[in-house]
């Protein structure tokens, strides 16, 4: 049964990918890309990667699509016919693909439990992480502790993206004397949508908090929570007008928040050094190693969540304010 679902999803993915190559309307290509990432997220679930699916759905389908639409809104929405037949490209792609297929010949079969990948490093994570670190979600343990440094870099990556987008597009608060009610960006004609949004927003934020603090036990964690929080803010801005949102979450505040998140993560690592451990060694933070790990992971996830939320929202602001700037 699982195999069948797997194959069906892969087929759908192929159809979507081919449609994306053929279709000329960028608007539709973006929507199909959204479907593609939704489908791949389903595939991740069927291949047991629930955390990845969570992130892919929130990021690939949610944020990336919104950003693409916003960018499309700032430019053309139709692709020109390529002036030449891209035969060379086809050749390059076929060669690369052939090399890769050749490379998979010696790979262990899909789902093979005896593959080397499952036998060297991974078993320790599964067998000992609960004694060494605590959370039942192994992914959280690895992400925040065993490979916590990668996650610090990841946080800085998203922070950098936020900075870059702001540096490139700039955010100008044009509110000035204008009152909020004249904001044209609000979806005035959609009363139902506006009411529903107001109704749902508290629950979205609540859900974000749940994901943030429940990440130890189920799928989720700081990154996903940050994205959900940002989605909430984006929904708010889309329906109720961006000036109102900007008033609730000013740019300066978000910048400080993004910075604070990175510094919180780095600071947790430094605190471990002050207490005599290595960088990011949370064990020394608490009375016992487990308590220390717990505290460390909590702080670190909080830092990730805050930075991701602030950076994503800043990026969205930058795109949303560009048009009339």
């Amino acid at each position: 049964m699982e195999l069948f679902i797997d194959i069906t999803l892969l087929t759908f993915l192929c159809i979507t990918a081919l449609a994306i190559t053929v279709i000329r309307k960028l608007f539709c290509a973006v929507m199909l890309a959204g479907i593609f990432s939704l489908l791949s997220a389903c595939l991740f679930v069927s291949m047991d990667a629930v955390d990845v699916a969570f992130t892919e759905a929130a990021v690939g389908t949610g944020i990336a699509t919104v950003l693409m639409l916003a960018a499309l809104n700032l430019s053309h929405s139709r692709e020109k016919c390529p002036p030449y037949q891209p035969l060379l490209a086809l050749l390059v792609v076929c060669t690369t693909g052939a090399v890769l297929v050749y490379g998979t010949m010696d790979l262990p079969a899909f789902g093979d439990a005896t593959a080397p990948i499952h036998h060297h490093v991974a078993p320790r994570y599964i067998e000992q992480s609960q004694q060494e670190i605590g959370p039942p979600n192994f992914v959280t343990s690895i992400l925040a502790s065993y490979r916590g440094y990668d996650t610090l870099a990841e946080t800085v990556v998203i922070f950098t993206a936020g900075l870059s987008v702001v540096a490139l597009l700039g955010i100008r608060d044009r509110r000035g004397g204008q009152s909020i009610t004249t904001d044209r960006s609000a979806m005035k004609g959609y009363l139902v949508l506006r009411v529903v949004t107001k109704l749902l927003l508290p629950f979205i934020f609540l859900f974000a908090l749940y994901v943030q603090f429940h990440g130890d036990y189920g799928p989720g964690g700081g990154f996903q929570a940050g994205v959900i929080f940002a989605s909430g803010v984006i929904i708010h801005s889309l329906t109720l007008g961006r000036d109102r949102t900007l008033k609730a979450f000013p740019q300066r505040f978000l910048t400080i928040l993004a910075t604070a998140g990175v510094l919180l993560y780095g600071g947790t690592g430094l605190a471990a050094m002050v207490r005599g451990g290595n960088f990011l060694d949370y064990s020394v933070l608490g009375a016992t190693a487990l308590a220390g790990q717990h505290l460390g992971i909590f702080l670190v996830e909080l830092g990730v969540g805050v930075t991701v939320f602030a950076s994503m929202t800043l990026m969205y602001y930058a795109f949303s304010y560009r048009k009339e700037a």
Binding site: L100, T104, A115, I117, H120, A258, G269, L270, V274
Partner: protein, 503 residues
């Protein structure tokens, strides 16, 4: 001297200084303060890298377990001779570029972006340092992306609109390269179940290989090589480089030209020697022969193209591609001398290209642009700047008593060892072509009549631009005369690499 808790943490401080200074830059209200923080952080980072080099000289390679988790399970930092050497190059360049940036950035970047600019520059530096210092393959990928992402934005901050398209082109090609690297790492991981570089080396050696070699291993290596070649702008994959270097702000060009490609070369060396082992790479996969042709083509074609450029920054960018050809040529000769020459050239090229691009920054600070015509009469107006250009140019050509000579010398020696006269001829031809393109600028600057009236605007560049520039020029001369330090380092790093272990 900065107070460090104890020497054991040196490796992590190397990256932490710039990485954590970057968010601090944003918190400050003024660009000046951000610059101060950035400069201090880069100097601290330089101090750390010097200390690291000394520590490794005395005690051998250094390992640092991040998060306290031992090697295959956690991420470790591993610093050996080669990485310490590259770390020194990167952090020294950053430490020189930061003071230089103060004036140049105020002229070239909008005021409201100053803080962001310094933050991005610091992140770029942290990314490059992180690549070099880490002992974990995936961590290397993450830091690679960190440095690339910030460099895309930095390039796009250039004044002209073509900076945007250049940055976009770099973004697309860089991301393709990074994805190839990701595929390569994934395949290696699937074969061994580990991501730690030393552990990878051990476990790959255990894989039973048939007569044709292990297919997955070969594919992984092919993808890694293509990915790194994209990042280091090896000849047919160099298309992103000229535009990116031409249209980026001067400071960014200086920093990236002196460091980014070197770090890509470092990654190539690390993967092919430390993980796969020189015997496998050269004897089974014949990397030497594969790399030889693009390297030679890069030296000749890129130098030829450079001769016909009127934008001098673009000319130097093409010259960079040619110089990268020298580095990969050294690697592809597959001998101790060749490898050493390649590593040495990384260092020397950073010195000379850093200096030359700093000259471009100084000229564009005073004149506004760096077309060949703008150089007319500059020999008299900006004597110090142009003198620096001449010396840097001599070093680029490989004239004796400059740093460039030393690496070319070893390169020729390595070529002679293999007995291929044609390679020697190509190296000499490359130098000859360098003479031509440098001479065009020198001729315009010194022998063409002055432009119209001499106004006050066009005088010597300010001291804050000249001092870092002349430090680099001094280094070019010093390391051309007293060669012992870099040559010893390079030789040590090369023998460590050839032994296939991370000593």
């Amino acid at each position: 001297m900065i107070h460090l808790p104890h020497l054991a943490h040196l490796a992590i401080w190397q990256v932490l200084f710039p990485l954590l200074a970057a968010p601090l830059c944003l918190l400050l209200r003024s660009g000046r303060l951000a610059w101060l923080i950035a400069t201090l952080a880069s100097w601290a980072s330089l101090a750390v890298s010097v200390l690291l080099l000394r520590t490794i000289n005395c005690n051998g390679p250094l390992t640092y377990n991040l998060g306290g988790w031992p090697a295959p399970w956690g991420i470790t930092y591993h610093v050996d001779a080669l990485s310490a050497f590259v770390l020194l190059i990167v952090s020294a360049m950053a430490a020189l570029v930061m003071p230089y940036a103060a004036k140049s950035v105020s002229r070239e970047i909008d005021v409201e972006n100053h803080r962001l600019f310094y933050a991005l520059l610091l992140i770029c530096q942290a990314g490059l340092l992180g690549i070099v210092v880490t002992g974990d393959a995936f961590n290397m990928y993450v830091f690679l992306e960190l440095s690339s992402l910030s460099s895309y934005a930095l390039i796009a901050l250039g004044k002209r609109r073509r900076a945007l398209t250049a940055a976009f082109q770099y973004l697309v090609m860089g991301t393709i390269g990074a994805t190839f690297i990701l595929i390569g790492i994934g395949l290696l991981y699937s074969l061994t179940g580990t991501l730690n570089i030393q552990d990878l080396a051990v476990r790959i050696a255990l894989i039973p290989t048939s007569a044709v070699g292990h297919r997955t291993l070969i594919t992984a290596f092919a993808f890694l090589t293509v990915g790194f070649s994209l990042k280091l702008a090896l000849f047919p994959l160099h298309l992103w480089l000229p535009n990116a270097y031409t249209y980026a702000p001067s400071v960014v060009t200086t920093f990236l030209a002196a460091t980014a490609t070197k770090v890509a070369v470092y990654m190539l060396l690390r993967f092919s020697f430390s993980i796969l082992g020189s015997r496998f790479v050269f004897e089974q996969l014949t990397l030497g022969k594969i790399m030889l042709l693009p390297s030679l083509a890069a030296i000749i074609i890129a130098s030829l193209v450079a001769i016909f450029q009127y934008d001098i920054k673009r000319m130097l960018a093409y010259s960079s591609i040619a110089q990268i050809g020298y580095m990969t040529l050294g690697i592809s000769l597959n001998s101790h001398t060749g490898l050493m020459a390649g590593i040495l050239h990384m260092f020397n090229h950073a010195l000379m290209k850093g200096a030359l691009f700093m000259v471009m920054g100084a000229v564009s600070y005073r004149v506004g642009s760096v077309y060949l015509n703008d150089f007319r009469g500059l020999g008299r107006r900006m004597p110090w700047t142009m003198a620096a250009f001449v010396i840097g140019g001599l070093s680029l050509m490989g004239v004796p008593l400059t740093a460039g000579f030393i690496s070319k010398w070893f390169l020729i020696e390595a070529a002679l060892e293999t007995g291929w006269w044609s390679i020697t001829a190509v190296i000499l031809l490359g130098s000859l072509l360098a003479v031509i393109y440098i001479w065009r600028v020198v001729e315009t600057a010194y022998f063409n009549p002055l432009q119209e009236i001499e106004d006050d605007e066009h005088t010597e560049a300010p001291a804050s631009l000249l001092i870092p520039l002349w430090i680099l020029i001094g280094a070019n001369i010093y390391f051309g005369i007293d060669t012992s330090v870099p040559v010893d380092m390079a030789s040590w790093a090369a023998s460590a690499l050839l032994e296939g272990t991370m000593r």
